[in-house]
Amino acid sequence: MSNLLLLLILLPVAAALVCYFVRSRAVRSLTVTATGAILTVASLGLLAQGEFTYSPGSFLGIMSWDVLITVLDFALLVIMFFYGLKLKNLLIQIFVAAQFVLLLWLEATIDHGMEIPALYGDNLSLIMVAIISIVGSLICIFAIPYMKEHEEHLHLTKSKQPRFFFFLVLFLGAMNGLVLANNILWLYFFFEVTTFCSFMLIGHDETEIATRNATRALWMNSLGGLAFVIGMILMEAKLGTVSIQAILAAGPQGAIMLTGLGFICLAGFTKAAQMPFQSWLLGAMVAPTPVSALLHSSTMVKAGVYVILRFAPAYAGTFLSYGIALCGAFTFVACAALAIGQSNGKKILAYSTISNLGLIIACAGINTPLAITAAIMLIIFHAVSKSLLFLCVGTIEHGIGSRDVEDMRGLYARMPRTTVITIVGILTMLLPPFGVLMSKWMAIEAASQFLIPVVLMAMGSALTVVYWARWGGLLMGTRERGAQPESQATLTRLPLTILVIGSVVLALIAPVIYSGLIAPLFPEGAPFQVSLGVLSSTQGGFAVYPLFLVLGVGLLFALKATSGWRKAKEVAPYVSGSNVETPGSYNGPMDQPVSFSAGNMYLGELFGENKITAAANAVAIALIVLMMGGAL
């Protein structure tokens, strides 16, 4: 047990150091790949062992780990303050300095004599560890060939990859520490490490825009850090403990503690880039694609929703909980609407991430076993499908030099492998019987008791269909007979293949995941009975195996019908006149070819960023005020 924990948290740290100090490409590739493999096995091993509580001894026999974490915490705050000075950003300086002072005060007031276990893992933590270690590692592996190509594109004389991989791999260790922490001070420390890692990774390319966006990410997340410290102080003042287990066991206890929980959730909102904090995650798009993939799927933003979900039992049945549901559901709708207005592929993915995180948070706020199940399922499936889609966009961008979906029209002609994988990825985000939709189904059924959240979810669900279907469809296109498929580096193809298979297979074994990992979280009564792969509750049912079977056979039949398509006559599309040899043109006046083109409707007049953002931010702020006011 202790060995596994050590591996999951400290191995990435060691590997990060190797990447940083040994400046050899081969060593770096080997370290990253091997670390990924070991983390995968270790996370599955931990998952197999189940729930645990663990207190480490002392660090090298010199001092206790608690003291070491505290020292590192202050050191990290000093470094962040230094960056605040360097970037001349007053907000960062204020937020970090305030954290420093308040943390000193907290350290002075808490009873250090009390022994509390530093680490604790229930199934929620263990599922998170598996996502971080497996999906995160695959992204790190994908980054090896990607970053080589990225630097070739930029014509760098001196490689910056050692620093890049240092933060990328360190991120995994910090995330594992975050989700396994039981001492809330440890949780806070790892929370801050992820803030710092993301700041360094977003600013990696050191262009003006990268620095600007990294700065924004840092100030917003420092605000989150400050909220976290305030939350810890309030809860400690009320309960006199820093043990998360004790906090959860205490339940909602009066205004002071609820306000503390409200602040913790606010910290989760900033980390999960919920409205009005979404701009930092959109700005993070300037970073190389593996960074976006990591931030969006298995780390960073998932830390935000994890924190909110972790503390859900402590605020169950309060107005704070309903406030959280409203905030989440609103972000779900607003960001889905914003995604419709975008043609930049990475931006669509970013808004879709924020939107889905909103749905997870809405579920945490609804706070019934059914809703919590939906939230955890959504975390799992979203991580796999979203990382896949980010890596696809990265691969496409290197292939065609653009991340704009309009430039991906008929991409099947040029990059058939990547295109098919991308289309499958899109379908797993959108349609049954895949997991993201199943979670959405659970979310709507869980929310059906609450008018406003369910109306928001109904709208958000429809908006989601538009941007995914549009993107999936335009990737399809005509391909020349006998054209060569595109070549992919092995370390590019491997993560893509594993993730695309994973996104389908995980959805297929959803009933197993549910009964094995999620149902045990609800000893008083799990929301579903499972029989023959059908999840059924008193209010509804989702037939996973039967649907997979019927739709799978249907798809095979359709594929077989498609494979015989060469027997059909291939014709040019109808253009109200005679076609000419050049595709995309028709015979116009004076017998001259006239070319035509069609583009997506982005409904800018309704869903443009400039139309919605300001108003949506205002509503989001109002909802957060409502939520915090309800806690008081």
Binding site: L431, A462, W565, A598
Partner: protein
């Protein structure tokens, strides 16, 4: 076992009924316009003729999309007959809707491209209403499962009148009727030729037509369960609703997507929410 038999029964019966309704629809429309109209079985002759035509495609994605559309539509009807979860039925139906759009987008044709965009806006308009209708049914019966509807002793219509009217919007869009038929206009040589259907031809167009019959039955089935307690009144409700649909189709001009989205979201959702508030309060 009973569920499987019912599902298979539904999958077999639905296209027959759907085709007959399409035939009746044409007769009724002709009557409104003081014409004779084709025989009631004409839609079957039409589709049979389509299946006999030469296979022509722009690319293979169209074949895949047409088949998946048809299969998903059939499965959703099967689930409906098997008394499954309403939301699940709806999401399976969405597979078909999405694949139809993707099939249209797969062809580099301005008509089918624009048709696909318009179809997406239609989906955007009706989806939330359908979900809210299901939430209303859940609040009335205590379950999303269709079987709970049959256990009621009074018709749902009494409790969900506004939601039924809102469902009418969704029905009009789903049946591709005026004023909401802009993604697949019925008549050739209009501004969009035939929207999403422009590039589907021969047997593949036949599949799309068949899928449309399935969808018609699904949406009418949804209307039918609003008077689940009495078969006669159920029939009256269905006939009245469909008659009204055809009347609206023949008296209204085609509208733009902006008009549709605003009307359906504001009025349709507004009525749904008002109706839901009663239920939550009750």
């Amino acid at each position: 076992m009973k569920a499987i038999i019912l599902a298979i029964l539904g999958i077999i019966i639905a296209p027959v009924l759907g085709g007959l309704i399409a035939g009746l629809d044409r007769r009724l429309t002709a009557w409104f316009q003081s014409r004779q109209g084709p025989p009631i079985l004409q839609p079957f002759y039409d589709v049979a003729k389509l299946f006999g035509k030469e296979k022509m495609v722009v690319n293979q994605w169209q074949v895949l999309c047409a088949w998946v559309y048809m299969i998903a539509a059939a499965v959703s009807v099967g689930l409906f007959f098997a008394q499954s979860d309403l939301l699940l039925i709806f999401f399976v139906q969405a597979i078909g809707a999405v694949f139809l759009v993707m099939g249209a987008l797969a062809a580099k044709s301005p008509y089918s491209q624009v048709g696909a965009q318009r179809e997406l806006i239609q989906i955007l308009a009706y989806e939330p209403i359908l979900i809210l209708v299901f939430v209303g049914i859940f609040l009335t019966t205590g379950s999303f499962k269709l079987e709970a509807v049959w256990a009621l002793d009074s018709p749902m219509l009494a409790k969900l009148p506004l939601l039924y009217i809102a469902l009418g919007y969704a029905l009009t869009i789903k049946l591709r009727k005026s004023p909401f038929d802009f993604s697949t206009s019925h008549h050739g040589h209009q501004e969009l030729v035939k929207g999403v259907l422009t590039e589907f031809s021969g047997p593949y167009l036949g599949l799309v037509e068949l899928a449309h019959w399935y969808e018609t039955i699904l949406v009418l089935g949804l209307c039918a369960i609003f008077w689940s307690t009495n078969v006669v009144w159920m029939a009256v409700l269905l006939v009245a609703t469909y008659f009204l649909e055809v009347l609206v189709d023949n008296t209204m001009a085609r509208m733009t997507w902006r008009w549709m989205l605003k009307r359906v979201w504001l009025i349709g959702m507004g009525m749904s929410v008002v109706n839901l508030i009663w239920l939550y309060a009750g």
